[in-house]
Structure formats: C-alpha cells, structure tokens
Amino acid sequence: MLKIENVSVRYGRAVQALHDVSFDVADGEVVAVLGSNGAGKSTLLRAISATLALHRGTVTSGSVTLDGTRLDTLDPAAIVRRRLMQVPEGRQVFGRMTVEENLRVGGLAAEPKRRAAAKARVHELFPVLADRSAQPAGLLSGGEQQMLAIGRALMCDPVVLLLDEPSLGLAPQLIQRIGRIVTEINAGGTAVVLVEQNASMALQVSHRAVVLEVGRLALAGSSAELAASEDVQRLYLGGHADDAHETDAPARPRRILSAWKG
C-alpha cells in the first residue's frame, strides 16, 4: 500500500538527511521507525507527507507511492485528500483555537458526510476532547494536546496515519495509554507509521519495525525479531551504546538482521 523506495533527502545544498531508504507499509499494519536523534525519522515522515519544502528540504531521488499513486510529486493538501495524515512532532495543535475548532480544521479535507462519524469516533477514543470542546487548545495538558493532535488527524478518517514521536515529553502512564490508542486506531483499519524514540512502547504496538542510523536503514524486521535483537536491546531498550567503548574488550562485529524486502 504505502511504498517508500530508495528515498534520499537533502536539506539545502549540504545536508544529506536520508540515503536510499526503502520499506513499505501493508494495509492495516503498524510499522515502527526507530532511531536516535538526528537519524532522519522526522525527515522520513516529511518526505511521505510532502512537507519537506517547509523545512527547505527536497527528495533528491526515489519515490513514495500510496496504492500506486506517486505522492512525492503532489502537494501536502493533495496527499491529505488521499487520506494520509501526519501528526507532527511536538503536537502542534492550534493553541489559540478551541478544541472544537481544531477538530473542524482536521475535518476540512474530509467528505462532509463522513465528518460527523469521524468526530463521534474521536470523542469515543478521547472523551476529554468532548468535555473540553470550548477550551483553547493551548490550555490543555501535554497529554491532552497529544490526544487532540491525534484526534484532529483522525477527523479525516485516514487510511494511513503517520505519528511523529507521540510519546515525547509525556509521563510513563500516558505513554502506555498512547500505545493503547495506536492499537485501537489500527484495529479500526488504519495503517500506522509510528516514529518513536521509546522503542519499548513502539515495538509492543507495531507489527514490524525499521531502524534508521544517520539517515540510512540499518535494521528491519518483525517487531518481535527486533525486540530480541542484541543491537536493538543494547541501543534502544535500556542498554547503553557507550558500554562497549568503556571496556577494553575488542569491539564485536555488529550483528545485522536480514535486509527487509517488504
């Protein structure tokens, strides 16, 4: 369904942020994208949603397709009309607008007859948004703002939802809740691309995962496979990458999982 093929991205003239990244997302699947800061995770989502230009970035090679339609030649509005929605990093709710108005903005690109059902689903998933509908979004807590950001994207009844670090800055209990919400959204038939630094949560809720390192696809496989991988455990699940350098033992050759062919 969503296919990313050999995508390379550059910011300005000098910064190569992604190199030949390829993977795909099947219907109704949750794919986690893991990686440390600066690995290119958010850049990857921007390349899919065609918002790179807002950050002075461009796709220099490769393609992104959704059900066979090239997305990298479209503008963000045209991609939203194909029901591919992104929840950006840092929530980015419209703080001076009310919760209700934020949801209205989210539903602008949806077919009018679908809006009422989409709103009912959002209120069912996030009852707090119904309670606070007249409140300015900027006054919500961090967790509530994240729910609003996700709810706003769901107003378009997306077939693919891109989530950029939804757990960022949230308390552990809320992180677990966000994980459950991702599972619920996916149960409704929406495919999810989940960019996360919290690998533990991401691997729990996803079917498959990819790991980006300095703009390159380093690992790919099923979530269970990656969760069991020494590399992922050491780097993302509580181990420390620097441990190896602190011992005098010779560096072990890195174990590479089989390249994921999608």
Partner: protein, 293 residues
C-alpha cells in the same frame, strides 16, 4: 463642547478609513508575515482605475472596477513576485514590496500628469450630518458606515466561516495547517486580495478628503502610510488591534489638528506610536513572543 464632539467625529471618520487600510495590512501580514510596503500603491492603483473609468462607467461602476482591480493587482504581486521567491526571507520580501511601491507610484504619477490631484467626485460629497452641534462630512460619514459594515463582516467571517478557520490555522502554524490539507496558496492569495480591496475602498474616501498633504490620489498614497502606525499600534498580528489602532491614529490626528497645529497633526500619530511601543513593544494587542529558556 461642540468643538470636542467635532474632533471626535472627525477622528472617528478618519480612523475608520485608517482602520480599513490597517486591517488589510494586518490580514496580509498574518497570512505571509510580510510587511507590505506597497499597500499605499494598491490604494493608489484602485483610485487611479476609478478615476480613469468614471467618465464611461459612472462613479459606482468605476468604484467596483477599482476595488476589483486593486484586489487583482495584490494577488498578482503575491503570486508572481513573492510566492516565487521561495527561499527569500520575510525581510527580503518586505524590501521587494518597497520596489513594487516605487514602480506603481512612479507609473501612476506619470500617467496622471497635470491631473495629479484629481478628486474622485464621490456621490456623497455634499452630504453633511449635524450631531450635537457638530458636523460630520459626507466622506467621513460614509467611510464610518462602510467601515462598520465591512469590518463587522470581516470579523464574523474570520470567526465563523471556513475561510476564517483556514486563515487562522495558517497564521498560527503553517506546517500544521498544510498537514490538515489547507492549501497555503489559496489562503495567502485570498488575504492579499482582501488587503488590496480594502485599500481601494479606503481611497474612495481618502481621495475626497482635504487632509494634511493636500488632496487627491497621489496625496492619498502618502496618507495611506498612516496605516502603518495604525497596524503597528494594534500589534501587526491582531485584526481587532488594527481597527483600534486606526481609530487611535484618526483621533490623535484630529485632536492634534484642532488643539495644537495642523502640521503637528502629521507627526502626532507617529509620536503616539512611539509612546505605545515604548510601553508595549508588541503593540496594544500584539502577540508577545515567548521563548522557553
């Protein structure tokens, strides 16, 4: 007492005109974050079209054409010049609008030639209204009524319509708005069209007023500059602030003109602006930039 009422009426009438100009200026700034120094030229262009078409179409037909032409020119400036300079900073784009302003002003002044100060010959020129011993002149009265209707309509649309929703979303967060499927160029173009139309409507009243600097089209270009302090007073990002700023500028000008000196009236509005900015650097209703440290 009647003098004071007269000052209030004059100030409010002029303030309504400045409010129209400042509102257009702020709408453009909110959508693109570009300070449009060509705003006076948009007004001048609209006025020139009215002047040129009035003999054939009559005042009303020419006025409609003038407003539409100014809106079209504004969209043209945005689409052809600003939108193409994708990598330019907002400051560079503001400087670009200065160039546009000089070009339009020079060309229209050349075309007007000896008729450089034509009145637009409005149908309300001889209308006068007496109120508490004071008189409000036709242009100011009609400017006030027009401003009330247009500004009221703007705020209703800005608050409740889909256009207003997309406009507010884009001005708050361009990336999030794009991710919601809002077509940025449509919002931007509509903002410039509205700004151009409001500027042209304002000149229908300015060009008939005997104000400081003379009267007529080219003088109106200079007067339109009073929209800058009006918008800055209000806070540049606040449409409500632009209206209040316009009224403050109008009242400051008429009070200074009545109680101090006609020449002092020209600078009084800028003095008020300086005092306000010293006390509130982001204007009366401007967004205060907060940075987390």
């Amino acid at each position: 007492m009647s003098t004071f009422v007269q000052v209030l009426l004059n100030g409010t009438g002029r303030g309504a005109i400045y409010a129209l100009l400042a509102l257009g200026f702020v709408v453009i700034y909110k959508s693109t974050e570009v300070i449009n120094f060509a705003h006076g030229s948009l007004a001048l262009f609209g006025g020139y079209i009215v002047f040129a078409l009035k003999p054939t179409l009559g005042w009303l037909g020419a006025a409609v054409c003038g407003v539409l032409a100014a809106a079209a020119l504004a969209v043209l400036i945005e689409r052809v010049l600003l939108a193409r300079a994708k990598l330019a900073s907002q400051d560079s784009l503001a400087i670009l609008t200065i160039g546009v302003d000089i070009l339009i002003l020079t060309e229209i002044t050349r075309r007007l030639g000896t008729a450089s100060a034509p009145f637009l010959g409005d149908p309300y020129q001889d209308v006068r209204l007496r109120f508490l011993g004071a008189t409000i002149e036709g242009p100011e009265l009609f400017a006030l009524l027009t401003a009330i209707v247009l500004i009221g309509g703007f705020f209703v649309a800005f608050r409740f319509s889909t256009w207003g929703l997309t406009m507010r979303a884009q001005s708050e967060n361009k990336e999030a708005a794009a991710l919601m499927g809002i077509r940025s160029w449509r919002v931007t173009a509509s903002a410039w069209a509205l700004g151009g139309a409001l500027a042209a409507i304002a000149i229908l009243f300015i060009a008939t007023l005997p104000v400081a600097g003379g009267a007529g089209l080219t003088a109106a270009h200079t007067i339109a500059f009073a929209a800058f302090p009006a918008a800055i007073l209000g806070g540049l990002t606040s449409p409500g602030g632009a209206v209040v700023g316009g009224l403050v500028v109008g009242l400051a000008e008429s009070s200074a003109s009545q109680y101090i000196d006609n020449d002092f009236a020209k600078v009084a509005v800028y003095l008020v602006m300086l005092v306000v900015l010293v006390a509130r650097p982001s204007g009366l209703f401007g967004k205060v930039e907060q940075v987390r440290v």
